[in-house]
Amino acid sequence: MKKIFAALALMACGAALARGAHPWAFEYRPFTGSYNIFGGTLSEQVPPTKRSKNIAYYVKGAVAKQMFEAMGPDLKDVPGADGEQRIRQRAHVNCSFSPRDGYSCSFGFDLITGTSIAGTEC
């Protein structure tokens, strides 16, 4: 009987390990980011107006790493992508990784129409 318990305990332990140190749970986790509300375009920003108003977000750290990993594979032959900098993109969501700066993602919204826009210029 003791052997069975021991075997069961071992199996439970193995299953827990297989799920990794952080099993998924419906839990919100903290992140830090920055935002910028502007009119015009990313490269030529003007004060926002009733006809032109956008928001760009930039996030880094664990959230960016998880987004990056979900978005693979790396983009090849795009500006900014080289041996140091890896870039991944889905529609207007852009994530990058470099050994120097770590993980970061950018995205944005057109606040007049609500559509998704890029959060960086590349």
Partner: protein
Amino acid sequence: MLKRVAITLGVSCCLLTAGGVVSAAWTDMQGDFPGQYIIYGGYPDKESARAPSSGDTKVAFSIRGRAAKDLFDSIGPAPRPELSRGEERCETNPKVRKRRLETIACRHHPKDGYWCTFGFDLSTGLAVWGKSGDAMCD
């Protein structure tokens, strides 16, 4: 003497602040902020969400404070049904103001201030709801 210094300082601060508001109104709508996020599969509520998998990974963001207020203010209250935007109030608590712009949802609750939520499907990059719409009135 002290009183006079205090008044002078107070007046100068007011003038500085007023000047600052006018000239920096636009550049003030930016900054660093803390928020919360979740990576999930399925739907963004506790009952239907599941572990993310290949082809079904989404991210939901939840933002409070000044970053949420700026977004709330920027969305504006104008009722524009053709763009799925406008301001509503919760039937259960009319003091709660809800503003929506496509997949962005914001609210102002008298108890906990401004809150916004939005998200992305990371398999496609398309914008999706953050927390489900029902959460707005809780």
